[in-house]
Symmetry: C2
Subunit: 192 residues, 2 copies
């Protein structure tokens, strides 16, 4: 019934009451690593959660034509979240444009592909440094039962992911460098 986005919202609200805008902000910054949504989608989903009785809200004065609405999880919502959390995740298809490009990369020139991977590597290293800095701020992992455990565990996953990605980029760059050096060039037919 409730979509995954609905549970993502419940997971945010379980940490404390929030406006739709706050949820959208959370989806941009710390949660963006594993789930994202635009505010347009969030407002629509909040209507569904409201209809299902999983969230409630309190209208307060604030900016915008309609003031602000501070949402909170209801007892039913909390129960639904708890049940969903322990259900095995359904296999979502990975959709990775970079790997797809790599799969088709043989149609292009190695130098261009190499440049693309150099850029990707830089991006991954930057994000890795950012995550590691964030991890150091937390220090040692919070205990299970603390909401921050969720944040820390997700961050840990993110760090592992960036490391794996960076390593793969480096391997690709190595492979492509081999294709670019003279001994390899001489072995294939080229312009005289």
């Amino acid at each position: 019934m409730t979509s995954t986005l609905g549970f993502a919202i419940l997971a945010v609200l379980a940490r404390g009451e929030r406006t739709g805008y706050d949820i959208a902000t959370a989806m941009r910054r710390p949660i963006a690593f594993f789930w994202t949504a635009r505010h347009s989608q969030i407002h629509a989903e909040l209507q569904k959660l409201l209809a299902a009785g999983f969230v409630g809200y309190e209208a307060r004065q604030g900016p915008g034509p309609q003031g602000k609405k501070v949402y909170h999880v209801t007892a039913e919502g909390s129960l639904a979240l708890r049940e969903w959390v322990t259900e095995p995740p359904r296999e979502r298809p990975e959709r990775d444009e970079l790997v797809l490009k790599t799969y088709a990369s043989w149609v292009a020139g190695p130098a261009e592909i190499r440049q693309m991977f150099a850029d990707q590597l830089a991006a991954h290293e930057a994000r890795l440094a950012e995550y590691e800095r964030e991890g150091e701020l937390i220090g040692k992992p919070p205990g299970f039962g603390d909401p921050r455990f969720g944040n820390y565990a997700a961050l840990r996953c993110g760090i592992g992911y960036e490391r794996h990605r960076a390593e793969w980029c480096r391997w690709m760059i190595d492979q492509l460098s081999e294709s670019l050096n003279p001994s390899w060039e001489a072995a294939k037919p080229s312009e005289p």
Copy 2:
């Protein structure tokens, strides 16, 4: 103009002519790691590629009410693919249900979460073994310019991914085991 799925199809067809069914099969088995699509979507996308002049087909006799259509990439399609391949990939949002569940895991019991991760670990280890077996079949990496280079590079990424995932699962299980041992249980209020 052309969607990413369109390029995924072109990437498959660049390896040789295929029917829509063949493309769907390819999307289930080797490409599924980084892109998936149902046959319904593939047939629709092929119509768009046809209209764009990126693919052509040859009608042949075969099963089904309409016979079979063997598709191939045109010169324009080949050029479009070559251009797309070297464009920097746009950041696609990662949508990872397991990490989302982990983010919300503190609302549930550690034992249940631990079980979920044990199952995930088993799945990742199985897939890793499968990929590694496949990698051994190929042997040493094909040179750039060979279509099999794309397959090998993607497989290499898959192996790295499964290793990273398995490692993260193991870390989570360790963390949860700590939460489950008596010294930790004694420190929190529980039933007498």
